[in-house]
Symmetry: C2
Subunit: 292 residues, 2 copies
C-alpha cells in the first residue's frame, strides 16, 4: 500500500513513524509533501519516509491512500485541490483520509465533490508542534475516530482502519456531527477555557492586567496544567474554532451557565456555604472517577 501525506507535522509525522515501527512496516511505501518541505525532508533522511515529494501531485500520484495532515481548514483547501487541479494525479480508487480535529465540514466538502473520503481523527496530541516532536507511540491505545463519507465503500474504510490499527489506535466509527459535538466538549472547549484563563488573568498585550506580574510569581502546577493547551499550535486551534464554531459555541454557553451558578454560590448573601461547596466538588470528582 502506498501512502501519500499532504501536510506533515506532529500528527502526520507520528503516523508515519508508527507505520515505520509497525510489524511488516515495509508493506507501506510512504511519501510526503508539506508547504515548507522541512518535515518531509528530515523524515526522508531519517528513513521514516521513503521519499519527500517536492510537489503535492507527486505525493498523490500512485497513492492508494492520501492522508491530509494539516489544520482542518488546510484540509478543506486540499480537498478542493483534490477535486480540482490535483484530480488528475489521483488514481480511480485512491482513498482520501485525514487526521484533522473536526470532521463535519470535511465530510460535507468531500461529499459535495464526490471524493472517496474516509475521515479520521486520532485522539492524541501534545503542545509541541512539527515533525521533530512526532512520536511512533502517540496513538498507542488511543481512540481513532473513523468517519466515512457518502462515496466511500467498506473496502475504502478498511484501508483507513488498517492504518489506524497499525498505529496502535482503537477504531471508533462515528457520524461526523456526533464526533464534532463530542470533541467540542472534551477537546475544543478545554482549549478555549485555557486561552480565556490566560486572557482573564494575564490580560492581553493591548490591555495588560497590572496585577499580572505579581500573580505570575505565585503561579504553580495548577496554572501550568490549566494553560498548557494555550501553548499549542495556534493555526490548528484557529482551524478547530473556525470549522466547529457552532458546536463549540454551544459548549461555551454551557460552561457560562455553570459559571453563573458558581457565581451565585460565591456571592450568596452571608457568604458561600462551605458544605455545599464541598458537596459540589465531591460530585465533580465522583463524575470524573467514574469515567476512568
Amino acid at each position: 500500500m502506498r501512502i501519500g501525506f499532504l501536510g506533515f507535522g506532529l500528527i502526520g509525522g507520528s503516523v508515519a513513524r508508527a507505520l515505520r515501527s509497525a510489524e511488516l512496516s515495509r508493506q507501506w511505501e510512504i511519501v510526503g509533501w508539506s508547504p515548507s518541505g522541512d518535515g518531509p525532508r528530515r523524515a526522508a533522511a531519517d528513513g521514516v519516509l521513503d521519499r519527500a515529494s517536492s510537489r503535492p501531485a507527486d505525493a498523490v500520484a500512485g497513492a492508494d491512500l492520501v492522508i491530509l495532515a494539516g489544520p482542518a481548514t488546510a484540509c478543506l483547501r486540499l480537498l478542493d485541490d483534490l477535486a480540482g487541479p490535483l484530480g488528475d494525479a489521483l488514481g480511480a480508487d485512491t482513498v482520501i483520509s485525514d487526521v484533522a480535529s473536526t470532521k463535519a465540514a470535511l465530510v460535507r466538502r468531500a461529499d459535495a465533490a464526490r471524493l472517496r473520503y474516509v475521515g479520521g481523527h486520532p485522539m492524541a496530541g501534545r503542545e509541541t508542534t512539527g515533525y521533530e516532536a512526532s512520536s511512533p507511540d502517540l496513538f498507542h491505545d488511543r481512540p481513532w475516530v473513523v468517519v466515512p463519507g457518502a462515496v466511500a465503500t467498506e473496502e475504502d474504510v478498511d484501508r483507513v482502519v488498517s492504518v489506524a490499527r497499525a498505529c496502535g489506535g482503537r477504531v471508533v466509527r462515528m457520524d461526523p456531527e456526533a464526533h464534532d459535538r463530542a470533541v467540542a466538549g472534551v477537546s475544543h472547549l478545554p482549549l478555549i477555557l485555557a486561552a480565556a484563563l490566560v486572557e482573564a488573568v494575564a490580560g492581553t498585550d493591548a490591555v495588560p492586567r497590572p496585577d499580572w506580574p505579581l500573580a505570575r510569581e505565585l503561579a504553580a502546577t495548577g496554572w501550568r496544567d490549566m494553560t498548557r493547551l494555550a501553548r499549542g499550535d495556534t493555526a490548528m486551534g484557529a482551524a478547530i474554532a473556525a470549522t466547529n464554531a457552532m458546536a463549540l459555541a454551544g459548549r461555551v454557553r454551557d460552561v457560562r451557565v455553570v459559571l453563573d451558578d458558581w457565581l451565585a454560590e460565591l456571592e450568596r448573601s452571608g457568604g458561600p456555604d462551605e458544605d455545599s461547596l464541598d458537596a459540589r466538588l465531591r460530585g465533580v470528582r465522583d463524575r470524573l472517577d467514574r469515567s476512568s
Copy 2:
C-alpha cells in the same frame, strides 16, 4: 526550635519531611496532631515527626512555632481555639503560622484575637492528599508567601522565614489582600474552571449529560490536564472558595467577560475569522511565554 503541627496532611507532611531532610535537621524538634491522628502516627513511625501528639494542647505546649496545616476554614477554627481553650498551652512567645491557601481571613481573625501570627503559603500542591502523598521536595525553589499579622515582630517573621528557607522555598512577603487576589487568579479560578468544565461537559449526577459517555471515550491529554485540579482535595477547595469568595467571584466575572468575547467571535455572522482567531491564540501564547 520546637515546631508543633495542628493538622498534618499533604502540605504539613511535606514541610515536616523537608525539615527532616534539611541540613542540621536535628535542630528541629517536630511534633504533630491531626483530627484523625493517622498522618502523625505514620510520620512518627517514619522518623519524620519526633512524636505524634494525641491532643492539640500537647502539640502546642512548649512550641516555638505552631503551624496550622489544614484547610483555611479549619485554620480559622484553630485560631479561635488558640485564642480560647488552647491559649493556656501557648507560650508567651510562641509564633503561629499556617500553610493554608488564603490569607486575609486568617490575618483578620488572628489580629482580632491579638495572636502572634505570621501567615504562610507555600505555592505548591498536587491532586493527591494526605501524609502518604507528602514529599520533602514539594516546596523546592517555589515561592513561599509570608504575611505577618499586626502583632508579629520581625523576630517572629524570621522564625517562619527560617522554616520556609529550610524547606527550599523562596520567601515572598506580601499583604494578605494582594496575596488573595493573586492566588484567586492563578490558583483558585483554575480550580473553579476545572470543576465547571466537568459540570458543563459531563453534567452532574442529578442532571447527567446524555452525550457524555460518547464524549468521554474521546477524551485525551487535554481533558485530563484541564480536569486534574477537580480531582484534588475537595475540603481544601471548599475552604478556599469560602474564605476567598469575593476575590474569586471577581475572577469568575473576568473570565465570563472573556468567554462572551469568544462567543461573539464564534457566533459572528458568516462564521468566525480564522486569521483573527489565530492572532488571538498567538497573543495568548506570547503572554504565557513571556511569563516563563
